[in-house]
């Protein structure tokens, strides 16, 4: 049987992991916005924005990776909550 206080800590830790990933996504979105603006300016001046566009693809890929991991953690947290509920159903509040 798992330890309910530890499971509760796990939930908190996973929330913290999600916060880390959310902040990472926010940072990537900020970079994406800045980059999109730079591409616009660059192209308006007739300059080659290929480097920026490649970087934009990378950023989108990063965002997708972070979101996918967040989904996994959310799903895991649902499992952890079920474990807590099952243990408490048998043993009462721990």
């Amino acid at each position: 049987m798992y330890d309910v206080p530890s499971l509760r800590e796990e939930l908190i830790r996973n929330e913290s992991n999600i916060t880390v990933l959310t902040e990472a996504v926010t940072a990537e979105i900020a970079s994406k916005t800045e980059l999109a603006q730079k591409i616009q300016e660059w192209e308006a001046q007739g300059e080659d924005a290929a480097d920026f566009k490649n970087h934009l693809k990378t950023i989108q890929n990063n965002i997708d990776n972070y979101n996918a991991e967040m989904d996994k953690i959310y799903a895991y947290n649902i499992q952890v909550k079920r474990m807590i509920a099952e243990i408490e159903a048998i043993h009462g509040n721990v």
């Binding site: 330890d3 992991n17 880390v20 080659d48 990378t58 890929n61 991991e69």
Partner: protein
């Protein structure tokens, strides 16, 4: 291999030892194997070695432990997927795993309390157990910094707090850097030099001297090359320079983040990025001594995080000229006349003086060429440089050529100005001068030579400079004059 082939239980010493193999196992696999061993009849008189607090948090108990110096290495270095804590809570191996896309072959590295953790893990994403609590004390509060910095790629790093044990995520994303393809051995010889400390530099863009925190001597290199050495000196394994580190000490470039401890790091390239043929400096990074052709191929951020763009050097050109034509281009006043009152001479000057001092006046950066001719009344002096208080003259003040022939002998207070072009051309074609343009500048253009109708027109020096073609119309009234070059 089964886990039982790699780990061995020492029942009397109450230790688990890694004794063979190189395979990695989830902590749950270790737990499950141990539970299997302890349910044997022969083990019924032993206390259980390990407990699972959650699916990812495990703890030794009843005096059991995993050896860190086993016959085949530290047992923790073959585990992943969860954390393990000692029976007495004095030691904690937290689980750190990375996600993200890295260029294949990336060796992720970890800095813990200012030191690089010796790598036992493989390439690309990691899933490891890291000792974060040692003999009852957290190592740097359980914090670590994780890097992905392979030369040739865009870098990344992130911080993680591991003091809570369990499973902790860090994102590391790298990508091929299309501006970083030169061989490391070549880049290492580019000869850039680094300095750290707050100092003011003037980009001559009209903003005056402003503070920067790190200044880089580019050793005459193109900025594309300088950028690559900046990457080289901050790559994984870079120990060749002594850089400012986040804790304000100095150390290896592979740990370098930013020019000042409080600045947000540019993760992809900590001294600045390179894109579209331009270098974009990180905050507080000043560059100098770069190839002259790159004079405008960069943009900096000063210590106050304000963008500093290089001045716009433009050419002012008059063409359709013949050798011997006298050309004069000067800024005009609001009335459209030559602006002859741009400064006042400061103090007395005599023959032999090679510096012309001026009082603070309306002399404009945007209308004063780097080199050219300065006029005080009708006297002309060629100068090789200038600042807001003086002109350095090419020849000492003297009577004689150019006219007038009398010694000027300034007493101070005389007005003067700086034409953009003020000379006789010695070859047919065009003549030009360069100035730093920051605003539209109205000018008058004159081309004179006996035998042609004096040419005069007005124009404006714009952000891309100015080019005017002289119209040379023969003066049929004047006689005996030369109208074509010889």
């Amino acid at each position: 291999m089964a886990i039982g082939d790699d780990f061995t239980i020492n029942w009397s010493a109450k230790t688990i030892e890694h004794t063979a193999g190189t395979d990695w196992y989830h902590v749950n696999a270790l737990y499950s194997w141990i539970q299997g061993e302890f349910d044997e009849l022969s083990a019924m008189n032993d206390q259980i070695a390990m407990k699972a607090l959650t699916p990812t948090v495990y703890q030794w108990q009843n005096g059991w432990s995993l050896l860190t110096g086993g016959a085949s290495g530290n047992g923790y270095e073959f585990l992943s997927g969860g954390s393990l804590e000692s029976d007495d809570n004095d030691y904690l191996w937290a689980n750190l795993y990375s996600i993200g896309s890295q260029v294949g072959g990336t060796n992720i590295y970890i800095i813990q309390d200012g030191s690089k953790v010796t790598q036992w893990w493989g390439i690309d994403n990691i899933d490891i157990l890291l000792l974060v609590k040692d003999a009852g004390s957290f190592v740097d509060d359980g914090n670590v910094r994780v890097f992905g910095r392979e030369f040739g790629d865009n870098y990344d790093h992130n911080d993680v707090a591991l003091s809570g044990g369990g499973r902790n995520v860090v994102g590391i994303n790298t990508a091929d850097d299309s501006n970083n393809n030169t061989a490391a051995a070549t880049v290492s010889g580019y000869g850039l030099g680094w300095n750290f400390g707050t100092s003011a530099f003037d980009l001559n863009n009209g903003n005056g001297p402003v503070d920067y925190n790190s200044w880089i001597d580019c050793n005459g290199q193109y900025l594309s090359a300088a950028y690559e050495q900046m990457k080289y000196e901050t790559r994984r394994g870079a120990t060749g320079q002594d850089f400012l580190l986040p804790d304000a000490t100095s150390g290896d470039g592979e740990q370098y983040l930013a020019a000042s401890a409080g600045y947000t790091a540019v993760k992809t390239a900590p001294f600045g990025t390179f894109a579209g043929g331009k270098f974009f400096g990180a905050r507080g990074v000043w560059i100098y001594n770069y190839n002259a052709e790159d004079a405008q191929n960069f943009q900096l951020l000063d210590a106050s995080n304000t963008t500093q763009a290089p001045p716009n050097s433009v050419a002012v050109t008059v063409n359709s000229l013949l050798s011997g034509d006298r050309v004069f281009v000067a800024s005009t006043s609001a009335a459209g006349l030559v602006d002859t009152e741009q400064f006042n001479v400061s103090g007395s000057h005599a023959s032999g003086d090679s510096t012309l001092y001026i009082s603070a006046g309306p002399l404009q950066t945007s209308s004063t060429p780097t080199t050219g001719w300065v006029r005080v009344g009708d006297y002309r002096h060629r100068y090789t440089s200038w600042d807001t208080s003086s002109f350095t003259l090419a020849s000492a003040i003297a009577s004689g050529s150019p006219a007038p022939s009398t010694d000027p002998g300034y007493t101070g207070g005389e007005t003067g100005f700086v034409p953009l072009i003020d000379w006789e051309v010695t070859a047919s074609g065009s003549t030009s001068n360069v100035l730093i343009q920051s605003q539209a500048l109205d000018v008058v253009i004159r081309v004179r030579r006996i035998g042609i109708v004096p040419f005069e027109t007005n124009s404006t020096v714009q952000a891309n400079g100015m080019t005017v073609g002289a119209i040379r119309v023969t003066d049929t009234i004047v006689s005996g004059a030369e109208t074509s070059g010889s």
